[in-house]
Symmetry: C2
Amino acid sequence: MNSKDRISLVHGFGGKETYELLDRIIFSKLPLNLKRVEGGVGLEVLDDGAVIKFGDKNVVITLDSYTIKPVIFPGGSIGTLAVSGTVNDLVVMGAQPIAFADSVVVEEGFDVGLLNKVVDDMLKLLMELRIPLIGGDFKVMPKGSLDGMVITSVGIGVARNPIIDINITPGDRIIVTDPIASHGAVILAAQLGMLDKLEGIRSDVKPLIGILPVIDKYSDYIHAARDPTRGGLAAILNEWARQTNVTIVIEREKIPIEDNVRDFLEAMGIDPLTMASEGVAVIAVADTYADDIAKDLRSRGFRASVVGYVEKPRNEFLRGKVVAITEIGGRVVVEARGYNLPRIC
Amino acid sequence: MNSKDRISLVHGFGGKETYELLDRIIFSKLPLNLKRVEGGVGLEVLDDGAVIKFGDKNVVITLDSYTIKPVIFPGGSIGTLAVSGTVNDLVVMGAQPIAFADSVVVEEGFDVGLLNKVVDDMLKLLMELRIPLIGGDFKVMPKGSLDGMVITSVGIGVARNPIIDINITPGDRIIVTDPIASHGAVILAAQLGMLDKLEGIRSDVKPLIGILPVIDKYSDYIHAARDPTRGGLAAILNEWARQTNVTIVIEREKIPIEDNVRDFLEAMGIDPLTMASEGVAVIAVADTYADDIAKDLRSRGFRASVVGYVEKPRNEFLRGKVVAITEIGGRVVVEARGYNLPRIC
């Protein structure tokens, strides 16, 4: 390791650079039996959570740190985000959340009223969802050592049939549950002082608890599920395509997105496929049930859409790649890499 | 809530002020059924971890953030600390650690070699203890927004008979497993550039896995166990005394402490009882087995000592108080409050 190597922002964007760094300093050093609890799922699969079997129960555990700036934004706060993000990681594993814990780190001088507001957002969601807050930690760093706050949440859930993202096969179709990229667009606009350009748009941050009955009902036909946060849809689909050696084809015009969000991002030269959502799931399902699942989701208030499909690579170049069919019918490779924002989640 | 209230360092010291803040903004707002999973233990008891029952298994979960500065110190690093602190929280709950996850937040520009060293310290301990690393998160904050790094660890364990610290009764005796305060003294000296005053002393940071067989063997007679980190022995003993309305009496001359640590802290005017240890447990045990337990611990290489006992308050003033018998036989009340160091853990 070159001693002059420095961490750059790109290491934190959740894409290829993050993977390569963590693989070099962590994953490659651990044998398989120290990456998971026997009989469960852990670091050997880079999914949203890990699974430990206790008797006949599949217990799912997820851990995430939130560093978003600003702490309060249109549609929520770091508190809303911490609960939603953690619940969503459980939901896309097919798990019912049963407990939550959080560790809060703030700087000396942090406004207690603001802390209280953030905590209230967190508690309000937990109470609505009836998820107990069973523990946590609280630390204060001296003035000048932390800009804002860091919240780290752990979620515990139980899955009848955990969704491990390794079963994608040609023929599967891809469903997106709601309009994408609103969260990313709002945070970008807030950081740039351009919120006036996004009138009426709020972050999509929300707990995806409402999709659980659908996941449960169709669990045998759901081959993968994720929430496209850092790196957006482009990152998740590329990860799926690469891991399973398929081509994933996306029809751009079918991807749900708010007009204002599309216009704002277009004006900024940013592909919405690379922008984070915090209340949206992307699901790969068996062809036969794709329309039923989308319909079921829509009947529950989601603006779900079948946006693409999985195919056998037509040639070597397309193996592990994501291809978008553009509005005028062209086929274009979609890279995982795009515009990245620090402190988006 | 006064909007001009600001977080101060004292809110982060784990004592009365931390409790009062968290009680005001969190604990008091949650009904009991949202503080724990039914049948388990959660926020209603402020212990080192929470308990969830899965079938006949008592699963213990603990979550802590580490912000220590410096990141590397004599005896370990923030990586050693994150694993040790988390393992110790499980051990003092009577739980065998079975899985670990960690979330790392660093600043842009952080030295990759240093990150690698910290991660290696973490992995080395996990491998020694054969605890799988099952998941985590990695975030990068822009330059200037975080001094150093924050690691948040979650530990999962299984306890045959979880030790919940509510059974302390008059007659119990107090055991300390090893010399106290070395961690606090080393970090204080490092922060002040005075490490030359502590020749030969290293932080006591270590996983307390070696005490588990003793805890297991005597579990029916162990009424409480904690690791005295932030706030030291004084904080834990005061918490126990207050919660159970007893008086805890400590004989100062029986408390194990390295000579150099005692001399250094004395010169600084700091009571070692208020200094953090990161590889020491304090245990309240039934009188009958106290000497056997201490002996068993010593046979396993610990420098354990019976340092005090629990008594019925002799008067109203002494209810919920900790009293030290000094080297010259006097009785003095020991407050939870003492010298506090930011970023000690």
